[in-house]
Symmetry: C2
Subunit: 330 residues, 2 copies
Amino acid sequence: MKKLVNSAESVVADALAGLAAAHPSLRVDPVNRIVLRAAAPRPGKVGLVSGGGSGHEPLHTGFVGYGMLDAACPGEIFTSPVPDQMLAASAGVNGGAGVLYVVKNYTGDVLNFQMAAELAEEEGIEVATVLVNDDVAVSDSLYTAGRRGTGATVLVEKIAGALAETGAPLAEVALVAEEVNARSRSFGIALTACVTPAAGRPTFDLGPDEIELGVGIHGEPGRARAAVGTARELVRVAMDALHDDLPLGGDVLVLVNGMGGTPLIELYVVYAEVAAYLREKGATVARRLVGNYITSLDMQGFSVTVCRLNDRLTELWDAPVETPALRWGR
Amino acid sequence: MKKLVNSAESVVADALAGLAAAHPSLRVDPVNRIVLRAAAPRPGKVGLVSGGGSGHEPLHTGFVGYGMLDAACPGEIFTSPVPDQMLAASAGVNGGAGVLYVVKNYTGDVLNFQMAAELAEEEGIEVATVLVNDDVAVSDSLYTAGRRGTGATVLVEKIAGALAETGAPLAEVALVAEEVNARSRSFGIALTACVTPAAGRPTFDLGPDEIELGVGIHGEPGRARAAVGTARELVRVAMDALHDDLPLGGDVLVLVNGMGGTPLIELYVVYAEVAAYLREKGATVARRLVGNYITSLDMQGFSVTVCRLNDRLTELWDAPVETPALRWGR
């Protein structure tokens, strides 16, 4: 197996050691497997906690920091973290104003965060949960009842994180997180499967000219197999799927996301097509991100997320953020 | 071929269109194929120009902006840009204080930048050139007389860019660029070959358990083929090569760079090993970057660059930067 790892068993622990060494702004608890802001908790501030299987980096550990998450709980590769991790994270970030869980809609994550919320409430920590389910490709899937949570997670964490910094109460932070999710839609296309360190082989089979339309972030099936097309054709498939679900118009925030193995030059080719499509529909791209934000190990392909903005969401998007993977002007 | 492109011929132009649409801070000249700061030239400021073959993104186009480059000239994939591009870029960024060319040491780039310098001087633009040749793997190679220029290019562009913002004269900016290069060493290891859009197949053959030690950024051969090892073993090979060439100690700046197709989680595993190695040698990692900064399309693997810092270089590293791919605090 060709992986930069010491062993399949140690990859998450070893990566957390690297994260701790690289980012003094973070505190990594290797026993509980949680990544916190070094300065957490901040009294009076709602704590934002997210988590999920590893292999989607920089999500979520790379989004811990000022203006975004207070803590992240990484599970094993493509495997939900456990309630004890989430509970330890909740205790570590609770500044008395409660904790918001940002949960991608996968069955394991949902159940474990529910259990953690119950345990936290027993310890006197108020918890609210936002379920992210932005992926229009399929309803119900291999790991999900209902739609999967994908790219909108990055947007929810950024925007809710910005509001939490202002000292807003838990109910309001939860509400804006839900608003971002409700206004966002995503669709992904895989050119190749990914290889997990444990399996050492592709998680699914794709022919040499075959792609998966609507692929999930673990390589789970989407809507259909198809022959590879031009960037323009693939973007049209993705954008039509978004537009069918939530008509695109007005000011939008766009995330063109690489799945981990896609060259950046190709993501910019994709972005040009996405921008042209949106122009055609009369939508204005007010803000955008192009890069690897929610990945699937070494999978090649992209996902596109569009969020219909309003003035308040734009302002929160623009607010300062300082995390390993996303940072701009304080 | 599985690529997110419209055609092999249009990939650079299409990506530039995406870059232009995504980053209002940039001005893209599609005819001359140059990427400039929207506000260039700035009177009295030395202009920094770099360029080289495409396929290494974010290098160089993603480093155009405040505190770094004034312009970048992208060639076709893995192909040097031409002197006319470089001349147009020089004219576009010359604020009367001259222009510094940051040139990676590959024969085509060197010749073309030399010719551009002559043309620019004829037009009354003062030009200085820094040659980046930090890769210790091989002297002379497929595309190079002397050592290849790799990861140190990012450091040179950042640090010389910071000095240029202060209004320092051309000779001083050139000097600090040379200092960074002289204090930096790099070594890369490929797990897989990359696929160019034009060829549609891997640029070289690697067996299923075989890796290339000392690989170049176009997949050109390094020191040896070897069997894949653990991250710890591979990092030791790379770091020993650096240490043999320039003993590691004192404060260092480290770049752990992904080659485009490497999952971020693996780069953090690598970083943990690099940090442990440096600790062992008594060096202090004062600053670091972990991510995709100088890539080789979809190649899997990593390179590590170490720069021995001094106080002035650290201060310039810390100075504000605002580019698509590198940004921190103004």
